[in-house]
Symmetry: C4
């Protein structure tokens, strides 16, 4: 999943491509109507350079610019940029360390995905729209404990996600989303832009699942065979959706 190595020249220019990618991901969240006010943030990682470009904290989307993106290392220390990085930076970098193949992360408070997170319930896979992008129910974490809040809230938020995936035996490569209980969704992907796209798809399936369940409260998830069929139409070596490129057009 690496996107070309960062050489010294690039580095001295201030990670322009990486900041551009993070900027595009943040603006995609805004365009898709997934964020209100200053909520939400997206980032992109350069694995070779070991740095992440992320939205600055509390800045409105209207005044966001590529050059505002803050570049931090994988511990969250600012490497470049004059603004304070997103208050969720430690969550992002911890996820990048744990999920080694992802290239971008998005976090929103989008209505329906957040409503599921608040309800502290996984989103069941009720149809092929869901299975096209999320290979199973979207996991929900445990609610963060008081001990964790005291320790390091943002770091522990990532630990909750990592813990949920480990305990529930979910592979992050086929499940690019998690619901942090009582908080909201995090999504990821090959790039910042794909992470933002998954945030949009998650919101779509979160809304549909809510409506379907209100129509048929005893509904269970679809059979594994149908779920696999749809997921594998779009992903993996035998995928036949799209124009044969590795990323979505």
């Amino acid at each position: 999943m690496s996107r070309g190595s960062a050489n010294m020249a690039m580095k001295s220019k201030g990670y322009r491509a990486l900041r551009e990618e993070a900027y595009n991901a943040n603006m995609a969240l805004n365009t898709a109507g997934l964020v209100v006010g200053t909520f939400g943030n997206a980032s992109a990682v350069d694995r070779d350079a070991g740095v992440v470009a992320i939205k600055p904290s509390g800045v409105s989307y209207d005044s966001l610019r590529p050059e505002n993106m803050v570049v931090v290392d994988l511990e969250g220390n600012v490497v470049e940029g004059t603004l304070r990085p997103s208050s969720d930076t430690k969550t992002h970098v911890r996820l990048y360390r744990a999920f080694e193949e992802i290239g971008g992360i998005a976090h929103t408070h989008s209505f329906f995905a957040t409503a599921w997170a608040q309800a502290q319930k996984p989103i069941p896979c009720l149809g092929t729209t869901h299975a096209d992008y999320f290979h199973g129910p979207v996991p929900v974490t445990a609610v963060i404990s008081d001990a964790q809040i005291k320790l390091d809230y943002e770091l522990e938020t990532a630990e909750q996600v990592i813990d949920a995936f480990r305990k529930q035996k979910v592979d992050y490569r086929g499940m690019p989303a998690a619901l942090v209980a009582a908080h909201g969704p995090f999504t990821w992907g090959n790039s910042g832009e794909e992470a933002a796209f998954h945030a949009e798809m998650l919101e779509l399936v979160a809304e549909m699942a809510w409506i379907s369940l209100s129509m048929a409260p005893t509904l269970r998830g679809i059979r594994k065979s149908l779920m696999n069929k749809h997921y594998l139409r779009k992903h993996g070596r035998d995928a036949y959706y799209g124009q044969g490129r590795s990323k979505l057009p």
Copy 2:
């Protein structure tokens, strides 16, 4: 329902009118807010030439152009076009073969129609808005079997629709929509554009039916006499809605 025969000259020009019609139908889905990402596809058929123009697979609506439409024969083989056709092409062509009077097909993952499909319930006819376009409850198919998935998923999706209409004794000419269980809606019409218009009307009645039933859970469909009255105001030989043209203006 035929729209003029395709002569050799037209054919050599690459089915320009047909691709234009398919393009307009696809863009109408987008304008009506029925599609997100690269979901959804619409097609139009030229019965005389025996060809269908359909959206290419996985291409975003922003970058769609009439010349991108892929022309396939009624078995789904590409006749003209450099892109791969929609992954749902086999479903379209199988429906064109079965429903001999239709001129266009649309497929979306629109919120409310898809929610009904996921709930695996037909949409009851609760009012005249519904009866204006859909002459009865909108049928839902059975969930596709494992055998069908292995056989030919997209072809069998069409077979599910055809099967449901046959078993439930529904005439496709008065019911331009079907819900594929755990998947989403397909709609059709005299043209690609009418198919897209029916997708929009379906979404409208799907939302209203959901709300009405949440207000009055024991609600049953309206009487057949009222349903007939409204459907026949707009359709058939005694229609008196509109300006006397056969298609909607």
Copy 3:
């Protein structure tokens, strides 16, 4: 409520002001997002001239023009215009004959008001937003009978409204809206534009009432004293809302 008498000169010019008013009312429905496709229609009456300007049947809002409005008499006969008037024209003119002080009528299939009509339930007055414009629960008619459908469907639709107001002892002057069971809402006002404005307010209270009841299913309407206070802040001789003009700015 009369809006100046129409003299012969005006009449020979083709009721330009009246057609303009009806046009504005129709476009206001469209701008407020209350209509989809070719659904919906609005009209305005000139009481002195005894004529009504109304939307032509089945014409899309995009191609509507003031000069397309059809002028009919109070029996629904076309007086001026080349297009066929709305298929609901008989409903409009019958309501103008029964409700002698109204100046405009609007009919939509807006989501939430139509959902209540389909649920065949009156919209309870749950708050001051409702009481500001509708002096009590919004009445729902009986479902039209087979005998009425055979007699004259559109005329009988109006009779259902008139009947409901008489039986439920509702004064149309304080209740500018009715829900036709299994069909949708009709609203009215001093002018075509006020009728359209009431259609928008009705949709607002229809949505809020649905949400409130889903939060608190045993909720009853607010006390009459509070209802009166709010309605009379805006209407009647002691009104003190707005800038002292008789119509809303």
Copy 4:
């Protein structure tokens, strides 16, 4: 929280900055889609000059201008302006007298917050989105009594809010919102613009709480420790969200 003292020069110029602030707050309500028709109003106070700028009554947002804002004293008497002030002016000025540190107030009939007010239920704090701005459940008042309606409706509306906060021991500085039962929400903040921003945040959490509860009806509010953590990330002396300025960018 004072925003610079108003000297005589400013006063003679007609409170231009204050009217501009009130105008911006009103337009922010409109831009955020929180108001329909002429509903809603926002104001800003100049504590040193002892005056409030507020929206004129019943004027549409399209025709609003900074110079239309009406300046009143803290008893609601017009100090400057030719239009009649909002019919809710007495509610605003009474709240300014009771809540001495606030700089702006907004009142809307936004869908979900109003639906909660109509349901006469507080909005429980179900997640961190809520806790970021509202330090606990958003209180609902008692329904106004007949005696209060007769006394002075608008003044007593404010008394209901003040009473609810006193009885429920809620500090208005950590809870910038109240639901007036059977009516709608009032919000406040350091400035008119912050009051409008809180109205937008309130609508967001009102919608999410409704959806979450419909998914999980037995849901209770989040633990106080998690609520405190999020509220105090953004507010108070140890806040670390944003760029270190006292107001949101």
